[in-house]
């Protein structure tokens, strides 16, 4: 697997980077690599035979090809099953540009999603015990004993350093481990699942980490929505499943949130007294301070404590309205900034009005958050803080990726000039 890096600062939607785009038909030994500049002009080509090759074209751009040159940016997303990881992934990959799809021609039960820039892998693929094994030993999938952290660490480390890996596939339908699939190093690798921040070695590989923290009340409401129509399920079975898994969840999954750079907390609303329907939500975006390449979003004045009700004379909102708050807090001993939204958007002007009052959103144009939200208005949470903050986190990760790429590109260019 050769990875070619062109030392110019590139945006996420750039047209070169052949190694990532050609997920199919990349298996020939000899390949023609054609580099296109942003205006589509061909400016250099080489016929590659091995993993190391340097090409200099007429314009004296330096192109080096080697497995170790491109470093994949690795993002961790932790959450329990049924807490919106898939929706978040769809929003995230959409912000990066291009829809993420399962690998073509592969195992139809593969858990992997691939887009031009991003590969999302599901950490269930690192189960060391299959369904029968867990049943025999009496352990849940939440239990570290059911997972192979050594292999997880080795493979994430390999991908990060530009090496293709043969990753196992855990089949969620059969409960068996299927034969592995090839994962090539993408620009951005997202590892999502129950334990991305559990093992300290894996944690150290993450450039950014997110934890989706769904309160018990909301988790119950969401699972009722998801499962009630399913044959065999009842309120009792849904409740029993949550309760039986809770000790392992509390022991192994929940503690990971202390390591996350961003936490999205989902709680019942405070706008409606004693509401337990779980329809209106209060969502908090907890952003760690001092994380390199990550500047927290703020409302009106960075570092101040703000409470804001956008609805009033200037903006009319539907019941029960929208309430925002922002301010510095401490979270597991870390300094954080917290942005909170209670209520939901029912109209477009509410959404764009709120967006225009937030700063540090890392948007590329005015209204980009609103545009993304509208594009996926059919996704769950598109009218409340879950969708809003997921979109914002997506933009922050895009920005983080671009800053990391720029900082890596700087050094070699300077060397080349000298």
């Amino acid at each position: 697997m050769a990875v070619c890096t062109v030392y110019t600062t590139q945006s996420l939607n750039s047209t070169f980077s052949s190694s990532i785009k050609s997920h199919l038909g990349f298996h020939q030994k000899n390949q023609q690599l054609v580099f296109l500049s942003s205006n589509g002009k061909k400016w250099g080509s080489s016929n590659k035979k091995d993993g190391h090759n340097t090409v200099t074209n007429n314009n004296s751009y330096l192109i080096t090809c080697s497995a170790a040159d491109q470093q994949t940016v690795v993002i961790g997303l932790a959450a329990d099953s049924g807490c919106g990881k898939s929706t978040f992934m769809r929003r995230l990959t959409s912000v990066f540009g291009g829809a993420a799809e399962p690998p073509r021609g592969g195992n139809p039960d593969s858990n992997t999603l691939i887009s031009d820039t991003t590969t999302v892998i599901c950490l269930d693929d690192y189960h060391s015990l299959d369904r029968t094994g867990r049943k025999e030993k009496g352990v849940t999938a939440l239990d570290p004993r059911a997972n192979d952290f050594d292999l997880m660490y080795e493979q994430v480390k390999a991908i990060k350093s530009g090496v293709t890996v043969d990753k196992p596939i855990y089949n969620h339908v059969t409960g068996l481990l299927d034969p592995p699939e090839l994962i090539k190093p993408p620009k951005i690798l997202v590892i999502e699942g129950l334990h991305p921040m559990y093992d300290s070695r894996v944690r150290d590989l993450l450039d950014f980490s997110i934890y989706l923290d769904i309160s018990n009340e909301v988790k119950f409401a969401w699972k009722i929505q998801r499962d009630m129509a399913e044959r065999g399920h009842s309120l009792e079975s849904i409740k029993a499943s949550i309760e039986a898994r809770k000790p392992d969840f509390d022991a192994y999954i929940d503690p990971q949130k202390q390591y996350a750079d961003a936490v999205i907390e989902v709680l019942p609303t405070k706008l409606i007294p004693d509401d337990n329907e779980g329809k209106v939500l209060r969502v908090r975006l907890i952003m760690k301070e001092g994380v390199e390449f990550f500047n927290p979003v703020y409302l009106f004045d960075e570092g101040s404590t703000i409470s804001w009700i956008p609805c009033g004379r200037k903006l009319t909102c539907s019941y029960p309205g929208i309430k925002f708050s922002y301010g510095p807090e401490t979270y597991y001993g870390h300094e954080v900034s917290v942005l909170e939204m209670d209520g939901q958007f029912d109209r477009l002007d509410e959404l764009i009005y709120v967006e225009s009052h937030l700063s540090n959103l890392s948007t590329k144009f005015y209204g980009e958050v609103t545009q993304q939200m509208l594009k996926h208005s059919d996704f769950p949470g598109s009218n409340n803080g879950t969708g809003f903050f997921q979109t914002i986190v997506g933009l922050k990760i895009r920005d983080l990726y671009e800053q990391i790429s720029a900082s890596r590109a700087k050094a070699p260019v300077e060397v080349a000039k000298a």
Partner: protein
């Protein structure tokens, strides 16, 4: 499984322990998504693909069965590992069933066409 067989790359790879994995991969359920993709290449006949309900139904059966098993496993000792593992299986299958429903929605050729072309005649919806 074209991406796995016959690959000859010169760079090192970290291999998963393939010996442990049972060879049943192609016997898995046929997803609608899969059959739709193959037929989509033929273009003209894509709208005639019959809806394949087999996969989600099969998962639904498994969900139902797993709930029964969990209730039995917990009857004796509700705090045992077996009980937790059995309910965990219910959660896993319920999530898989939900994902299968989402995929089925996405893979409806008319739905995806109409998402991009809502004004066309075949995509119009009428109230009353």
């Amino acid at each position: 499984m074209a991406t796995i067989s016959g690959v000859n790359l010169s760079s090192p790879r970290i291999m998963a322990k393939a010996a442990k994995t049972p060879k049943v991969q192609l016997l898995n359920v046929g997803w609608l998504r899969c059959s739709w993709k193959q037929s989509a290449q033929l273009g003209a006949i894509r709208l005639r693909v019959p809806p394949v309900h087999a996969a989600p139904d099969k998962i639904s059966d498994k969900v139902e069965e797993s709930i029964k098993n969990a209730e039995e496993a917990c009857a004796g000792d509700p705090v045992s590992g077996e009980c937790a593992a059995a309910w965990d299986e219910v959660e896993e299958l319920s999530a898989a069933a939900s994902h299968a429903r989402d995929r089925k929605k996405e893979s409806d050729p008319l739905e995806s066409y109409c998402k991009d072309n809502p004004e066309t005649e075949e995509c119009r919806t009428y109230d009353n």
